[in-house]
Symmetry: C2
Subunit: 192 residues, 2 copies
């Protein structure tokens, strides 16, 4: 029996409940536990809502919010790839693309294609909307590390230079004024 | 020393990290633990993104998404008031209003007032946007209860009639077609 559009949409919304069980490297600011990818996505959408004036160029705030709401759902199939890990980028990209096709494929075709397109735009990071979204996705964990006294930088023995090279270009490209603040924080944190 | 706009915005974004520690009555669909209000807000924003075609009237999907992202942040100060509790509605409303003023008051004035207005619009539930947002905020926990075999209805000894009266009017008003599905689920669940 063919599923109705609504049945497909509800199946998708039930499936993505699992993003709440994907645990990231970053902790909450109170250090009580690690953050999960669903609450991280909520927080990033709030970052976009509040900080849109710092984007690199003219952006559509609501598209950025939508992008950030769904940017991590592929982690339901492939897990979180930490920024400081050594995993192969090629295999990660392939796995995430397959996951995106499976997940957005649960939706009615037109809606699924639209959201898959938005996810792909985020991944390619060529538009101003996507560049700003990517910048926030780097800015939030950096902020957490600074305000928890080091966080994943200490756990993974990350150096001052590595922070600059792993976060800097992406944050600076999408939100230069936010990177200026990061430079001050990171310099102070590492006592440079 | 006066804080800059950006300093205020970052203080707000750090403060709302605490929404991740507010635990709701509903569990995750896999029943592994209770849901928190931050990941609940993410999921509701996704519900709005996916289900906007079922709204009662002409809505602005992006305003609804924004509303749902921030609808629960007052719980940082006052906690979650469960739907099946006996708390006084008057005192709840007062406490939540004070919390909204404190939290949105952390932001630069104009931005804070805009978002406070959006939160108040949600609470008043008079516009189509707010009615649809309120409907989703009832629909999601109902779905969780149905797909976890009873959930909070069993824990709080909630009857068939109470489910109809506590969820029905609000879901039906904002999203009549979603309520039609709920009626089937709830009737089957209670074996009526």
């Amino acid at each position: 029996m063919q599923s109705t559009a609504l049945e497909k949409q509800l199946a998708f919304l039930r499936e993505i409940d699992r993003l709440k069980t994907v645990v990231r490297q970053s902790s909450l600011l109170d250090k009580s536990r690690k953050e999960n990818s669903a609450e991280h996505s909520w927080h990033l959408a709030m970052y976009a809502l509040i900080l849109s004036e710092y984007a690199c160029g003219p952006i559509n705030k609501n598209r950025v919010i939508q992008m950030l709401l769904l940017h991590d759902i592929v982690e339901i199939d492939v897990g979180d790839f930490p920024i400081h890990s050594e995993s192969s980028n090629e295999s990660q990209t392939e796995q995430e693309s397959r996951a995106a096709e499976r997940l957005f494929g649960l939706l009615p075709q037109q809606q699924g294609n639209e959201l898959l397109g938005l996810w792909q735009e985020f991944e390619r990071a060529e538009t101003d909307d996507a560049k700003f979204a990517k910048a926030l996705d780097r800015f939030q964990p950096l902020l957490v590390n600074v305000f928890t006294g080091g966080g994943t930088w200490i756990e993974s023995s990350v150096s001052f230079e590595q922070v600059f090279s792993r976060y800097g270009p992406i944050i600076k490209r999408g939100a230069p004024l936010l990177w200026a603040v990061c430079e001050q924080w990171v310099t102070r944190h590492f006592g440079e």
